[in-house]
């Protein structure tokens, strides 16, 4: 097996397979291959900044073969030597806890998932944070041990040396080099200082590879206990030896800020402010690009209708694919902004404080403090949120988090909330805002309550107790945040894109077939349309036909079929069709209702609200009464109506069982809650 098989699921032209010492006997491949260089380091060591600095936009995201663990890789030229640079997940030690860490360890150790040996990287760049030497040296000690076994040369990058210098911290790099048994290059990923020297050291080590041969465990008689203690003693000893001048100012600001941000009450208030600002930014800024995407999609649909004759093909492309995929793409700006804000917050060091202050609340319901980042992300979209649960070490904790995440109000629910709330309180902005907030709160409360229920039932036990590094605060790098946003968004599009495409086509087919023509209609319906056409109102005639068409389609029939089941919630058959159609993607109900109420699929919101409010049932009573709207609202807050999310749940939990369970419990919860809402509201309203 070549290294290419290990690192790359798909081998493209310029990634023909990196070279490796073990393949030197293969002259053909040796000519076209690049050595593999892996970046290893603690979380917060600035490893990813260094990677970004070295690769820029040339990097791409790939999966480790046979896993869902992603990493970034890219070609970098050191001097004249092109290498394949791989950014491994951050590690504290080589005895892994999370799936990401496990994969990183396997790559470093040169074994695959089953424990079989595979070529180790040709060189390891160990990234060390100069301002946090002792802690980083622990990993160094283990890494050097492993490098001795695998024969991989190591180059240590002493990062953040600009920050160290500014705070008067002096480190003897030469002495450190002796202790680590490898070249040590002071540098700054932020300013780019020292990268030349790194490049030279990497090239030299690749041409004449020498694995380190020093002993990195303290063997003095005063040491006690396990290998851990010996390594820490070694790290402490080395760091005392190489730090020529300590710093008093380092970490002082962090200490001051943390007096507030980790405070049990002020910290929570601070968290609320940060979150409020983040979401305000997401919702206010994303509105513009969302409008552009919508008009782009509408434009593409119109353009298609000029090129293609009217018919099933056009309908599939314009309504099914462009409409369906566009309906999800429109949320991409919000998702990107969320990723961007999270990247900034993470880089600044704040996110770990947020986990700290939230932990006390979260663990009561059996969720770990770390679950709050996914829970936050879920307010934009459940899919990236579920993927973000990978930072949670414990499987029980991770599963509990994944199960409740889709209860958070995602962007796709917002158009539905907006429609229903406009129906409820069109001229009362305060009440409207209160109900909007209430819908969000209901999602959060339901998620916490369900987590508590799972803790008592199917997922017994407590969340693993919190233990998290609180790195020093620093100004986040805009460049890193932008790169990370770009990356994560691409991963989102790639992961969800395929599922969304397939689902869009299926839903289109259900709503389109069997076809209804004018001849299939009852004489009265037919004459109604003919009259409209004769009066020159072709649009109204088309809309009426579309309404009948949807009514007779598979989706329409299913909707009418399940209507008796939904009647106790106050839903009539049109709403039922809307509910059924939105099990693929919830925002679909807006366009479904628009068609069913004769506005065509592009009726504007104000027109739709007016039409819905005026609509009556067969007895002449209004259909969208207050209890019905509230019941629909509660149903949409709680129901699992997003097939792409289900696909991701399956992928991340490894079984359709959990995805089905998630669907089942959320639907049952939505049904019962909507039932209670409708019946109670009916009694109160009278």
């Amino acid at each position: 097996m070549s290294t290419a098989d290990i690192y790359l699921p798909v081998i493209d032209a310029d990634d023909m397979g990196p070279g490796n010492a073990s393949r030197a006997d293969d002259p053909l491949s040796a000519e076209v291959t690049k050595p593999v260089v892996a970046l290893v380091g603690n979380p917060n060591s600035g490893k990813t900044s260094l990677f970004n600095r070295l690769t820029g936009l040339r990097a791409h995201t790939a999966n480790f073969a046979g896993t869902t663990v992603e990493h970034r890789r890219g070609t970098v030229t050191f001097g004249e030597q092109a290498v394949e640079l791989v950014d491994l997940p951050g590690l504290y030690n080589l005895d892994a806890d999370t799936p990401d860490e496990r994969v990183a360890c396997e790559v470093i150790r040169g074994v695959d998932r089953s424990g079989k040996s595979q070529p180790a990287p040709d060189l390891l760049i160990l990234v060390i944070d100069s301002t946090n030497l002792q802690r980083n040296l622990f990993l160094a000690s283990q890494l050097i041990e492993v490098a001795k076994e695998t024969g991989s040369p190591v180059v240590a990058a002493l990062n953040m040396s600009d920050l160290a210098k500014r705070h008067g911290l002096q480190i003897d790099a030469e002495q450190l080099s002796t202790d680590l048994g490898c070249p040590v290059i002071p540098l700054s990923a932020r300013t780019g200082a020292g990268l030349e020297q790194l490049s030279t050291a990497v090239v030299e080590s690749l041409h004449a590879p020498v694995a380190p041969s020093v002993n990195t465990q303290c063997s003095c008689s005063g040491c006690h206990g396990c290998g851990f203690a010996q390594r820490y003693d070694w790290a402490e000893g080395v760091s005392q030896k190489v730090v020529k001048e300590g710093s008093d100012s380092l970490g002082r600001n962090t200490q001051r800020i943390d007096r507030f941000l980790t405070h049990r009450l002020i910290g929570l208030a601070g968290f609320a402010v940060v979150m409020f600002f983040t979401f305000w930014l997401i919702y206010s800024l994303a509105a513009y690009p969302m409008d552009w995407i919508e008009s782009l999609m509408a434009g593409a649909g119109n353009q298609l209708s000029r090129w293609l004759p009217a018919g099933d093909m056009l309908s599939l492309l314009a309504d099914g694919i462009i409409g369906g995929v566009g309906g999800v793409l429109v949320f991409l700006p919000q998702i990107c902004l969320l990723f961007f804000m999270l990247a900034l917050l993470e880089d600044s060091g704040y996110l770990s404080r947020a986990a700290l202050v939230m932990d006390r609340l979260m663990k009561r319901v059996g969720l770990p403090g770390k679950a709050f980042v996914p829970m936050l992300s879920a307010h934009a979209c459940a899919i990236p949120a579920i993927m973000a649960t990978r930072v949670i070490e414990d499987r029980r904790d991770r599963l509990a988090t994944i199960l409740v995440l889709p209860l958070m109000t995602c962007s796709a629910r917002v158009p539905v909330y907006a429609m229903l709330i406009a129906l409820l309180f069109s001229n009362q902005p305060l009440l409207a805002a209160a109900v909007f907030t209430g819908a969000y709160a209901l999602g959060i409360v339901a998620a916490l309550a369900m987590a508590w229920v799972f803790k008592r039932t199917i997922l017994p036990g407590n969340a693993r107790p919190l233990l998290i590094e609180l790195p020093d605060y620093k100004w986040p790098s805009l460049r890193n945040a932008l790169l990370q946003t770009y990356d994560r968004s691409m991963v989102f599009v790639k992961n969800a894109g395929g599922a969304i495409l397939v689902i869009s086509i299926v839903m289109w087919a259900l709503a389109t077939y069997p076809k209804t023509t004018l001849e299939d209609l009852s004489p009265s319906a037919r004459s109604e349309i003919t009259v409209l056409q004769d009066n020159g109102d072709t649009e109204a005639a088309e809309n009426l036909l579309a309404e009948r068409q949807l009514e007779h389609s598979f989706a329409g029939r299913i909707g009418q079929g399940v209507q008796p089941l939904l009647a106790p919630l106050g839903f009539d058959w049109k709403m039922s069709v809307g509910v059924v159609s939105s099990f693929a993607a919830r925002e679909v109900i807006v366009s479904t209702l628009s068609i069913l109420y004769g506005l065509g699929d592009e009726g504007d919101e104000a027109a739709l609200t007016g039409r819905l409010r005026a609509s009556t049932d067969s007895q002449g009573e209004p259909s969208f009464t207050t209890p019905v709207c509230l019941s629909l609202l509660v149903f949409y807050v709680l129901a699992m109506q997003c097939l792409p999310t289900q696909v991701i749940t399956k992928r991340e939990t490894g079984s359709w069982g959990w995805a089905s369970f998630q669907f089942g419990y959320m639907t049952a919860l939505a049904y019962v809650a909507a039932l209670i809402t409708f019946q109670t509201a009916s009694v109160i309203v009278g």
Partner: protein
């Protein structure tokens, strides 16, 4: 402070040393990887649940449940 005492009950801003770690085996790996290990110096920065401590040169947030199984004495 009675020596040795659980970290969760140690006074703030005193230099202490870890003498025993008796956390659940499932948490042992994480705890040690972050430096909470026999022989290390530790200072409590903020008490409560979770606590903020300083160990191996960095600040850590640690739940009091874990901290109650880490025993320290004055360094």
């Amino acid at each position: 402070m009675v020596d040795p005492a659980p970290l969760s009950e140690a006074p703030p801003d005193c230099l202490l040393r870890v003498v025993r770690v008796e956390v659940d085996p499932a948490d042992m790996g994480r705890v040690k990887a972050l430096g909470i290990c026999v022989g290390r110096q530790v200072t409590v920065v903020q008490r409560g649940d979770p606590l903020v401590i300083r160990i191996v040169g960095t600040r850590l947030g640690i739940s009091s449940h874990l901290a109650s199984a880490v025993f320290v004495k004055s360094a």
